[in-house]
């Protein structure tokens, strides 16, 4: 099954069987009895963190032998919903404070979230830039096909803020359900431009070029992270959150194009 369909199915199943999804199932219950972190750490991370968190997860496993990091990446709002419906997650890393607030307000976070990275929008254009896009104003030119994220997900909210602030009115051809969806349409050359995060264009630099534009400073996204209250592996959760804020993990994030908090 595709990742997207799996996510939908998960969200629906969770919505329907809240009671059945209690934590403490047969997954390896990790622990730190002797000060070492072991067992599975399940990290729910925003789609834009896919590549960096994959590396950070590997580094974390290397630093903590016996631990395994499982990533579930999706749009932050979908992840927040899954967590509030009782998904057995240890850590939540969101692409926007609003989606983090969904989780903290529901009382599902352990302590206060901390910002571990910042990200900014760029205009992603396919190789060769067929639409001749050099700035935000070009996106409203007739004949230029633009993909945006839907308003419900952080990249869409940020795009809305930037476009409104710059006074650029445009009709996108599609409103994608997460940032990777918008990026895929650029990669395939089906649209001339999409507003995505700088980090996404770096990760896809073979097919996509990122065009920087000054207005993006108006909507800088803070990325908060938190250990979850019903974490099946609470020690692992705390250790992972601490690791993401450590120098080696911050270096990975910087290389991916994130700004330091």
């Amino acid at each position: 099954m595709s990742a997207r369909a799996t996510r939908t199915a998960m969200a629906v199943v969770m919505a329907l069987t809240v009671a059945g999804c209690a934590a403490g199932d047969d997954r390896a219950a990790g622990g730190a009895a002797d000060g070492r972190i072991t067992g599975a750490v399940t990290v729910f991370a925003a789609a834009s963190l896919t590549e960096s968190f994959r590396r950070i997860g590997k580094d974390f496993e290397a630093a903590n032998p016996g631990s395994t990091v499982t990533l579930n990446v999706a749009g932050s709002s979908a992840l927040a919903n899954q967590i509030n419906q009782g998904a057995p997650a240890d850590v939540f890393a969101s692409a926007a404070p609003a989606n983090m607030a969904t989780v903290t307000k529901a009382g599902n976070a352990e302590g206060a979230p901390t910002t571990f990275a910042r990200n900014q929008l760029v205009i992603a254009v396919p190789r060769g830039n067929p639409g001749g896009v050099t700035g935000l104003a070009d996106l409203s030119r007739p004949g230029v096909k633009v993909a945006l994220c839907a308003d419900q997900v952080p990249c869409g909210a940020a795009a809305r803020t930037v476009l409104d602030a710059a006074g650029v009115a445009l009709t996108p051809v599609t409103l994608e359900q997460d940032v990777k969806g918008a990026l895929a349409k650029v990669k395939l050359g089906e649209v001339d431009a999409a507003l995505v995060y700088r980090t996404d264009t770096r990760a896809a630099s073979a097919d996509v070029t990122g065009v920087e534009f000054p207005e993006s400073a108006r909507a800088v996204n803070d990325y908060p992270i938190v250990a979850l209250k019903d974490a099946p592996n609470p020690d692992g959760a705390r250790a992972f959150v601490a690791y993401v804020r450590s120098a080696p993990a911050q270096a990975v994030l910087a290389e991916a194009g994130f700004q330091a908090p």
């Binding site: 595709s2 369909a5 969200a11 919903n81 051809v173 409103l175 994608e176 359900q177 050359g189 089906e190």
Partner: protein
């Protein structure tokens, strides 16, 4: 009646019906009226019913002849063709959407030519939604109709031929009425599959309200922020589709 059949039958029914009960229990009944009349929901519903119906028409137009060829014409490689017809069934719909883009997309095998010759672009259009739905739903129709054709008695067709009917007359006046129940069942399956289509649609046609945002896409996006809205939209889709299917069943399939 043997318990060995009744118990699993009951469990099977429960398994299919319980999730529906979950939807009904969690539905926000008090705010239902205002949620139902939100313009976005009705737009998506109308688009869903329209595109699923058009996709079914397209599947009938192309799928019935295909089923006839598979059932009645001996040719080398028939097994392979039959296997190819079922590919969309096993292909994850998102992959189907990507595949459609690679053919009909702007840089696709045919898409570039369609664009430069006729000025036709299919991705991100309502036509694109119909194509994506038809791609995913056609095997249901072809398999059902082919099965009906194989089960139908050849002697009626032969009798028609000996009485001087042309092959076309035989097909329209004997074969089609003979397989009508199978055809109706196939069309209903096809329509239902098209109505629920998500993956190929969002990949090939994108998501834009009023143009390509069908009900399943609206449900998915509602799920991002508002679970209750998602449940209401799901219920609407369910009630409308079951209503239409029951109405059609009474009309077409009473003898089936």
């Amino acid at each position: 009646m043997p318990a060995a059949l009744l118990i699993p039958a009951g469990l099977g029914l429960l398994f299919l019906v319980l999730p529906l009960a979950g939807l009904l229990i969690r539905a926000p009944w008090t705010t239902l009226p205002e949620r139902l009349t939100e313009p976005g929901a009705l737009t998506a519903l109308r688009l869903s019913v329209q595109t699923a119906t058009l996709a079914t028409a397209l599947c009938l137009l192309l799928g019935v002849p295909l089923a006839w060829v598979l059932a009645r014409v001996e040719f080398p490689g028939r097994r392979l063709v039959r296997a190819l017809v079922t590919v969309p069934l096993v292909l994850p719909p998102v992959v189907g959407g990507v595949a459609l883009l690679l053919v009909f997309g702007r840089r696709g095998l045919l898409g570039g030519w369609l664009d430069s010759t006729f000025g036709v672009t299919l991705p991100f259009t309502t036509t694109g939604v119909v194509l994506a739905e038809a791609f995913v739903a056609m095997p249901f129709l072809v398999i059902a109709v082919e099965g009906a054709l194989r089960a139908a008695d050849h002697r009626f067709e032969e009798a028609a031929a000996t009485l001087g009917a042309s092959r076309w007359t035989t097909f329209t006046h004997v074969t089609l009425p003979l397989v009508a129940p199978g055809l109706a069942a196939g069309a209903v399956l096809c329509w239902a599959r098209a109505l629920g289509e998500f993956g190929a649609t969002i990949t090939f046609a994108g998501n834009y309200p009023g143009r390509t945002q069908t009900m399943p896409l609206a449900v998915y996006l509602a799920l991002e922020t508002d679970l209750e809205s998602a449940i209401v939209l799901s219920l609407v889709l369910l009630v409308v589709s079951v209503g239409i299917l029951v109405a059609l069943r009474d009309r077409w399939m009473t003898t089936a």
